[in-house]
């Protein structure tokens, strides 16, 4: 009931379904629909319709069913699968179904109502077709038979009905019935479907195992297809005729048929060959393949040839004709070499070959596991060759194939071979997705991959790469390589791993291994690069990296590669690997010792000049750090000093001092002192003093053992050189730089002493002016002035004596205790005051001889004697003083005065006195005079004795000593200075 109701509703709505223009359908559909609708509409306007119109309506509605069905199909296909599922298929085709029923009903109605309607046959025919197309084909036969039954003789509907029946039976696999009707149908050679019918009947014959007839029909169909009056079923025939020939056991004929009649029979012959293989076995199928192949080759149909060969691959594989499979592969390979296989062919070829070789490989490796030593060598080679071919055909997967080749060899423990293949695999794998390779390897017609496919490819690529590395390492581990082989392979593997996986746990270990590898091979540059790569990737592994770098440095040190060490030192100083200061300093020291080694040897061999030049070349070079330059300059300076080239030595020592750091410079204080002393011994006082002064200035505030000696040198040597101002300047440095006061005083005193010793009296006076207030110098000044005074005394330079005296008096102590010198000077001054007075005093004053008066004479004589006594008394303290020059002068004066009086008395002869008185007087005077002269003589002798005993050098002893007067008159004095001889040697024969 519901069904009827639904049908009625649908029928009501059907017009509306197709009346309006449907935008979802094509223009053609809409136009057709419109035409049909209009015609139906027009017809329906006629109230009384005869059978013909009704028949027309049936025709139109049949057309409508088509349109509706078309629309329904579209709706069905475009609906979501879930909607389709929920509704079910039938729901979508309700409309057309309903109309089908309607049309069937109408048709039967017409026939019922007008049984003799002349188109009853047509009506049945239409119903049959509708039943076939829309009714599930259940009533098709019935209506077709009825159509035939009701057909007017020689009506075209008979042919149509018979055709449809034949087809119906054919489709329903009622072949005999089908043949029966086809036989009739085939009589009508005007039917454009003649060729189709022939083809179909051919199939019917096949089904009824009348193969020969099938072949004839097919052939007929084929050849008639050439006729333009017929529908060409050529392809269909060709698709099937091969099969017919096979079934008919006329394989060769079939192959020939194709070859003779088809330009490109490849497709068909392949199909035929496959069928032949199934039904007739290898030989027959091989015939077909061969024929097809030769044909394609003869006709230069490359694509067909490829197709045939590809089909042959399966054929040979199935029939285990492995050699043929191989030859076919080779042939395909050759073709590919000339012109790469098209994408589809390539895919197919690769799939088939890959599958086969996979099979071979599995067999091979399985066998090898059980009996690794007795594997089939040829088998192995074949497998490898297969992969080579695959790599050529499908170069994008070269990495995969090489990998498999590696696996093949690995299975038989040929680790050397496997390594090489793995290597090739990796090399290709790494470049696979590079743009360059992609351009070369990608076929222009290759289909573009989807995003998902690309991602999938990448994943595979990555997975393969991982496997390759595992395999490389396994090959290395297991392979028995010679030393060089192992080395190069390991390096390759490690390097590649690092490049590919800059950061993973295995890489982390590999960095160290690669480093050690290079290091053991003494490829230091490479080991360095390895270290740097490690550092870049793993900044935190500093401790390990330091250890590695230390090994590099050890190598450089061992090989005495100073250039490299020099190159690294600035980097170490800048913080490379955060090495501590101690390490850097040690490196510098080592560099120095390496650099200096050869020059030290030169020095040891006596080639000091060359060694010095060598050191200076190190100084000049920009390669070396400042410390090395400083040491080079320093060593050069030492060498120059050894060569007595004091100026150069001085220059380079100054340079070294400037360049040394604090520590280095201070470390060398002992050597600096030795240097200073040697410079002096080499007679370069200025340079020596300069270095000493400089060093003290630098370490002014430091305490060290050599400081005092350097200080002394800095002053003393400038003095010797006559650079007094510099000497003083260096002296003053002493206080500033903490030199002990006692030392400074000593040095100052030595300067002053120098001035005195060398008669640099002007300098001495200046010195005196500057330091006269220094109490500690009091003794020195006193002694100096006294010495200078006597110096001038001996030179007979009275003027200078006075000048010195005046200066000296200025510092006399007036209050405190007096120095010995002052006492002496005061005594001398006092003596000098007294002496002239005493000398001037007449002590031989006697009255005139003409005017002799005894009492006057006696008085005067007494006075003279008293004067002499007074003189003695006055001079006694000076004599007692012990100062030799004063003592001699005293005795000189006494001798002079005594002898003068004595001589005066000796010759005194007063006039006008009685002879006897005179005689007595004279005798008495003579006696007195003798005593006086004796006294005088005694004084003289004492003086002379004193002079001789004490070697008193007195310029005024001429008279006492008794030098001839002429000597004094002409002022001749023997200039000892101009006669003394220096002593060049100790003595003895030369």
């Amino acid at each position: 009931m519901l069904k009827i109701y639904t049908t009625i509703l649908l029928l009501l709505f059907i017009p509306s379904l197709i009346q309006a223009e449907d935008k979802n359908m094509s223009k053609k559909w809409n136009r057709l629909s419109h035409l049909i609708n209009e015609e139906i509409k027009t017809i329906k306007t006629i109230t009384k319709m005869g059978p013909r119109l009704r028949w027309r309506l049936i025709e139109l509605n049949t057309e409508r069913i088509k349109l509706i069905r078309e629309k329904e199909n579209k709706t069905f296909l475009s609906a979501k699968s879930s909607f389709r599922k929920s509704k079910g298929k039938k729901w979508f085709f309700k409309g057309s179904k309903a109309l089908y029923y309607q049309v069937r009903k109408d048709g039967l109605k017409i026939i019922k109502k007008w049984p003799r309607f002349k188109y009853a046959s047509e009506i049945y025919y239409t119903l049959a077709l509708n039943a076939r197309d829309y009714g599930g084909d259940k009533e098709t036969e019935k209506y077709l038979l009825k159509s035939l039954k009701n057909a007017i003789p020689r009506s075209p509907i008979i042919h149509a009905a018979k055709t449809s029946l034949a087809e119906h039976y054919y489709n329903g696999k009622k072949y005999k019935k089908a043949i029966r009707y086809y036989t009739d149908v085939l009589k009508n050679k005007d039917d454009e479907w003649y060729t189709k019918h022939l083809y179909n009947v051919g199939w019917c014959y096949i089904k009824t195992k009348d193969y020969n007839k099938a072949i004839e029909s097919a052939k007929l169909s084929f050849f008639n297809s050439k006729n333009k009056n017929y529908i060409s079923v050529r392809n269909q025939v060709l698709q099937s005729i091969g099969f017919f020939f096979v079934l008919a056991e006329r394989v060769e004929e079939g192959a020939d048929f194709y070859v003779l009649n088809v330009e490109k029979p490849g497709e068909f012959m392949i199909k035929m060959a496959k069928k032949t293989a199934e039904d007739r076995g290898y030989a027959k199928a091989e015939y077909v393949f061969k024929a097809a192949l030769e044909n394609s080759i003869d006709k230069k149909n490359l694509d067909e040839e490829i197709e045939v060969r590809l089909a042959q691959l399966d054929f040979y594989r199935n029939f285990k004709k492995f050699e043929n499979f191989w030859s076919t592969t080779v042939a395909l390979d050759e073709i590919n070499k000339v012109k790469p296989l098209g994408n589809d062919f390539q895919v197919t070829a690769v799939e088939k070959i890959r599958s086969f070789v996979g099979y071979l490989q599995v067999r091979f490796t399985r066998n090898s596991k059980t009996n690794i030593e007795n594997y089939d060598e040829e088998q192995k080679k074949r497998i490898l060759h297969f992969f080579d071919v695959l790599a050529r055909i499908n170069s994008t997967e070269t990495d995969t194939y090489r990998y498999y080749q590696g696996e093949t060899l690995f299975a038989i423990s040929d680790f050397k071979g496997s390594f090489d293949y793995y290597k090739q695999s990796l090399e290709y794998n790494r470049t696979k997705f590079s743009k360059k390779i992609s351009k070369v390897t990608t076929l222009s017609k290759a289909p573009k991959l989807t995003k998902e496919e690309i991602i999938e490819n990448r994943k595979k690529h990555e997975a393969l790469r991982l496997k390759i590395f595992d395999s490389l390492l396994a090959s290395l581990e297991n392979g028995k390589f010679n030393k060089d082989e192992r080395y190069s392979r390991t390096v390759f593997t490690y390097k590649s791993h690092i490049e590919v996986y800059p950061k993973n746990e295995r890489t982390r270990k590999i960095h160290t291994k690669l480093f050690n590898l290079y290091l053991n091979k003494k490829e230091i540059d490479n080991s360095q690069a390895a270290l740097e790569n490690y550092m870049a990737a793993y900044k935190k592994d500093k401790t390990i990296q330091q250890g590695m770098f230390t090994q590099i440095m050890d190598f450089y040190i061992k090989s005495k590669n100073s250039d490299k060490i020099a190159l690294w030192i600035p980097k170490l100083k800048s913080g490379f690997l955060s090495f501590d200061k101690g390490y850097v300093e040690k490196a510098v020291l080592i560099l120095g010792s390496i650099l200096f080694d050869s020059y030290q040897k030169m020095d040891g061999a006596g080639n000091k000049d060359e060694a010095a030049i060598g050191y200076l070349s190190l100084f000049e070079s920009e390669k070396y750090p400042q410390s090395i330059k400083a040491k080079s300059a320093y060593r050069a300076s030492i060498l120059f000093l050894d060569l007595y080239k004091t100026k150069e030595a001085f220059k380079w020592m100054n340079t070294a001092l400037k360049l040394f750091n604090e520590k280095e410079r201070f470390q060398r204080k002992k050597e600096i002192l030795a240097f200073v002393q040697t410079l002096m011994l080499s007679q370069d006082f200025t340079s020596s003093a300069s270095i000493a002064a400089r060093y003290i200035s630098i370490y002014c505030n430091s305490k060290f053992k050599q400081k005092e000696e350097l200080y002394r040198a800095s002053v003393q040597y400038e003095i010797v050189e006559g650079n007094y101002e510099l000497a003083f300047s260096n002296y003053h440095l002493g206080k500033k730089c903490g030199i002990k006061r006692s030392v400074r005083r000593d040095v100052l005193l030595s300067m002053a002493g120098y001035f005195v010793r060398h008669r640099q009296y002007s300098k001495y006076i200046k010195f005196f002016q500057t330091y006269k207030k220094e109490k500690w110098l009091k003794g020195f000044f006193h002694n100096s002035f006294l010495a200078i005074y006597w110096d001038y005394y001996l030179a007979g330079n009275k003027k200078s004596m006075n000048q010195v005296t005046e200066l000296y008096k200025g510092i006399f102590d007036k209050k405190g205790p007096k120095t010995k010198a002052q006492i002496e000077m005061e005594t001398v001054l006092a003596f000098n005051k007294v002496y002239p007075l005493l000398e001037k005093k007449d002590m031989d004053n006697l009255p005139l001889e003409n005017n002799f008066k005894e009492d006057v004479f006696n008085k005067l004589l007494e006075k003279n004697v008293e004067s002499l006594k007074g003189l003695t008394a006055s001079l006694t303290p000076y004599i007692k003083s012990g100062y030799p020059h004063l003592v001699t002068k005293c005795y000189q004066l006494l001798e002079s005065k005594y002898s003068k009086l004595g001589n005066s008395l000796m010759v005194y002869s007063p006039k006008g006195l009685p002879k006897e008185y005179l005689q007595g007087f004279k005798g008495a005077m003579k006696g007195l005079a003798k005593n006086l002269l004796k006294e005088a003589h005694g004084q003289r002798l004492t003086a002379i004795r004193l002079i001789n005993k004490e070697n008193i050098l007195n310029p005024e002893v001429d008279t006492i000593v008794g030098v001839p007067e002429i000597i004094s008159i002409i002022k001749h004095r023997h200039p000892a200075n101009l006669y003394v001889l220096p002593k060049d040697r100790k003595g003895g024969p030369l």
Binding site: D642, Y644, L681, S682, Q683, F685, V720, E721, G722, R757, H758, R759, Y761, S762, I765, D791, L794, A795, N797, S800, N802, Q803, V804, E806, L807, N948, N951, L953, N954, P955, V957, D958, V961, G962, V963, P964, I966, I967, I969, I970, K971, H972, R973, H974, P975, A976, N977, L978, Y979, V980, L981, P982, K983, D984, R985, K986, G987, G988, P989, L990
Partner: protein, 284 residues
């Protein structure tokens, strides 16, 4: 005070000009009493013979090539650091260059290499230096110390005698020079010095006889001429005195020149007197 200082300084300036020595270069080694100790009186020919001896450098210095001599010495410094003779030689070269500061320094250095500083050459040379600087007493002490030190000591004794002579300590100078002259009978400087002792003692005949022993080549020295003239004068041989004074141009040493001039004056006065008396006697 300042005036005194200025005067003192001026005095010092003028005192610096002086002749180096009056001794002669002695060509005959046998005539050189001090040949084994001093090269000062070596002729060029004799110095050249020192070329292949350890005194090559010193010979250069004595020959006027002090820079070269010092350079040669410098080159052997390292092996001679502790050698007093070496440092004495260095000092000698500086002395000959009149760099007394360095000479003194190296003489001291020479002494420091020897125990108790007893190295005669350096001691002697310090004495010579002191004498140059007019530190007479110090000089004398050095000569005495040198004479006491081991080794030959003719030179220090000779030098002592020179100082004694200058200060008329003739009883000290005489014995030294007499003893020394026994070893060499014709050393001009030795004979000159000995003659001077006699001269200053008033023993003119002896003095003249001693001067006469001086080899001919050295007799016409200025100093020899002067003292001979003094002796002649004292002997009353005025004409001879005049002759030798006239024949000599005194240029080496200013004091000698002054003394010679004065003596010439006296000689001429005496000759005038004699001539006058002769003339008077002739008249009378």
């Amino acid at each position: 005070m300042i005036k005194n200082l200025t005067l003192l300084m001026i005095t010092l300036l003028f005192a610096s000009c002086a002749t180096k020595h009056l001794t002669s270069k002695v060509s005959d080694p046998l005539g050189d009493s001090f040949r084994e100790e001093s090269f000062l009186r070596y002729t060029e020919a004799r110095l050249q013979k020192l070329e292949n001896t350890p005194y090559k450098a010193l010979a250069k210095c004595h020959g006027g090539e002090t820079k070269e001599g010092l350079k040669l010495l410098q080159n052997t410094m390292s092996e001679n650091k502790r050698n007093p003779e070496y440092w004495n030689q260095v000092g000698m070269c500086y002395f000959l260059m009149e760099d007394f500061a360095k000479a003194e320094y190296f003489y001291e250095l020479s002494l420091n290499q020897v125990k108790k500083r007893s190295f005669a050459p350096a001691l002697n040379n310090l004495g010579v230096l002191k004498l140059r600087l007019r530190h007479y007493e110090e000089a004398l002490n050095y000569f005495k110390d040198a004479a006491r030190a081991s080794g030959a000591h003719k030179v220090p004794l000779f030098n002592q005698a020179q100082v004694y002579l200058q200060f008329n300590l003739l009883d000290q100078a005489g014995p030294i020079l007499e003893k020394l002259s026994k070893t060499s009978k014709n050393d001009p400087d030795l004979l000159f010095s000995l003659g001077s002792v006699y001269l200053l003692k008033g023993q003119m005949k002896r003095a003249l006889a001693t001067y006469n022993r001086i080899p001919e080549g050295y007799k016409n020295r200025e100093d020899v001429t002067l003292v001979t003239a003094i002796g002649l004068y004292e002997q009353g041989l005025f004409y001879q005195a005049k002759k030798i004074l006239k024949a000599k141009n005194f240029i080496d040493y200013v004091p000698l020149k002054r003394s010679a001039r004065k003596l010439t004056q006296l000689v001429e006065e005496k000759i005038k007197e004699i001539e006058a008396k002769k003339a008077a006697d002739k008249k009378g």
